[in-house]
Amino acid sequence: MNTISDELVQQHGLSHDEYARILEMLGRVPTATELGIFSVMWSEHCSYKSSRVHLRTLPTAGKRVLQGPGENAGAVDIGEGLAAVFKIESHNHPSFIEPYQGAATGVGGIIRDIFTMGARPIALLNSLRFGPLDDPLVRRTFAGVVAGIAGYGNSIGIPTVGGEIGFDDSYTGNPLVNVFCLGIARADEIVKGVASGVGNAVYYVGAKTGRDGIHGATMASAEFDDKSADKRPAVQVGDPFMEKLLLEACLEVMRTGALVGIQDMGAAGLTCSTCEMGSRGGAGVTIDVSLVPQREAGMTPYEIMLSESQERMLLVVRRGHEAEVERIFEKWDLHAVHIGEVTSGGRLCVKHHGEVVADIPNAALTDEAPVYRRPMAEPAYLAGARQLSLAALGPPPPAREVFRRLLASPAVASKQWVYRQYDHMVRTNTLVVPGMGAGVVRVKGTTRALAMSVDGNGRFVHLDPFLGAQLAVAEAARNVACTGAQPIGATNCLNFGNPERPDIMWQFARAVEGIGAACRALDIPITGGNVSLYNETDGRAVLPTPVLGMVGLIEDAATVVRRAFRGEGDAIVLLGAGRGELGGSEYLKVVHGLVRGTPPVLDLELEAALQRLLVAGVAAGLIRSAHDCAEGGLAVTLAECCFNTGLGASVEVPSVDVETAFASVATLFGESASRVVVSVQADRTAELVAAAQAGGVPAAAIGRVGGERIRIAMAGQIAIDEPLAEAEDIWSRVIGGYFDRPRGAA
């Protein structure tokens, strides 16, 4: 009879009460393998035990939703019998420990989630957060993460069509690496992660199982501290070549009808895939781990069940079709191994050379895993941080200087150094490439296209989690609407600190409420997502960072617009109105080193009207370019519309009504929401303005495209007047400047 010490229970990240529940559920002391299985399945990462009660409140239904949360990825109907299958995943902790491999395996993982559903992945995006680039260690992490994303995505041949990058001290020891993937499937051929049909064969295919990543799932659920070094052998190395073979072979197998269900082995590896598939199918699964292909000698059942080796899939194959499936995998130089069967009775039974080493009801590991309603309390910092007295800041620097400093801020500056490393054109679908707004890919065989954007703003959420999260939803949706796409579904990745702290839990809960409220108002269902908690270093949490991944549908791919101005003489129209809001802005951060104030107000009705106007205006060929105002406000937005075009702009903007000393910077750099800079053929300006007014959207023709300067006047006075080439030069060199030697230097 084995015994389990308190210490062992603790090492497995299980609380006293949780262990007591295991004893009760099993009616006996667990075996070591069972203890390991419980520990990973009941970890925060796999069980969502702290977040589940909140996530349940998100709106997940909609007329296009084909698959909501609960499967490997969500799916929405995009017409013509097709579905867009998409999801976002975090790989934060692994990317800190080993940036290249951590990011690479993050990409690998989310791609598997998509093709597991029977969809061919056609686009990747990523949302990244780092500490300041002045820190050499941060630079190393940054370069490693970007190279890892490139290394995996490029090799497997899925274009990375967009993303975003933010910087803040709080991410220095805990970067965020969130990867989004979208694939296309036939709507009636979506494959699920189910095991059913007693006697059907369970197959293992892909890379061999090694000792890597053991405890990876529990690691992602524990705060970093000095002791985390002990857990470090848990680094997984990605093999994109293997994944490419798996991708092609699995899609081929799916076309045969031989498959009952399939799931990738991600976090918690074989454990998670077996019990989740069984649980979804209302069946049991019995496997013999001695049959699992192993990379190292002498692996124990515990290790095999918990290994997080990458590029592995679990399949349930209809009886009688085994040879057909094996043959397809052989063609791709993969060996599918029959490791078990589907059983009745709903238990996960693990054998080792025929001897039972674990026997657990699936439900105990999935539906009946612990769920906590953790205590919440408004954080103490909030009241103070929300106070912002502009007067106390002293006089602001001249607008021209602020403009230049903002263009040189890594958060605003061109990300070309990054996305040039990503193959963003492979598959020849990319209509809008990175740097030109939301990524847009066409759907071959149809007239349609899909726009995608990932957005989040940790500062806003830090200052008001409810509003900040709403703003993230609005920005992501607005970004896709700027291309002409109707937002039709979203996924989210919630990156927060330690949920056992009431103030963090409060941030989390409020942010989820905000996402829900905004999605309801904009009529956008959430079809899935990911939660990453314990993003802390030595007790200090990252800025609370919910990231929204938004998908929009464009009926006629030929109408797509980008952010760049199109032609000399076009009129520039500002949709929406500025209120001069500087709370949480890039301006305050860059110029005054502050994260303070209240985020911009958000009128969701106006936001919805604005997005409707954009979609209709683009479809009608009226709007020729569109770019939303985000970090850096109107002035930066205007500049970005000029960059990469050789076209300047000259505008006169109405001054906002704030303290006079700050009127200029608030007008130019304030980050009021629901604003978009569009361009329109000059003789159609009135048409657009009228359409806006009819839709209830403020609109003002503020100037025209052309010339070689960026000129912004306010109240009759020139505030900014910069040569386009100089501004573009500043903006385009920032990130590369941290990594590349200046040309000509010895």
């Binding site: 080993e98 491999q101 090694g210 052998p233 680094v235 990605g238 080796s309």
Partner: protein, 92 residues
């Protein structure tokens, strides 16, 4: 002085490149090659007076840049001069 630095993946770390090379060798008929591990190899020319000094510089370079301590280990050999025998390597 020349330092030769061999960087290899730690034994427990998966080596997809080595695995792929091994498979290719099998396809080519080299069945007796039972395992392949692929690593990196650096030759550093170091302006040092003593082999010890060269080794110290090479080790620092390896620690900071050439090897990734999370997944790799390295070994250094010093060629004191052209034609001189390699001094014994020190692994870490």
């Amino acid at each position: 002085m020349r330092a030769r630095v061999f960087v290899t993946l730690k034994p427990s770390v998966f080596d997809p490149q080595g695995t792929t090379v091994a498979e290719a060798l099998h396809t080519l008929g080299y069945a007796t090659v039972t395992d392949v591990r692929q690593g990196k190899y650096f030759e550093l020319e170091i302006d040092a007076r003593t082999p010890e000094e060269a080794r110290r510089v090479a080790a620092e370079a390896a620690d900071k840049l050439l090897a990734n301590p999370v997944i790799e280990s390295y070994r250094i050999e010093i060629d004191a001069g052209a034609g001189a025998a390699a001094s014994a390597g020190v692994a870490r």
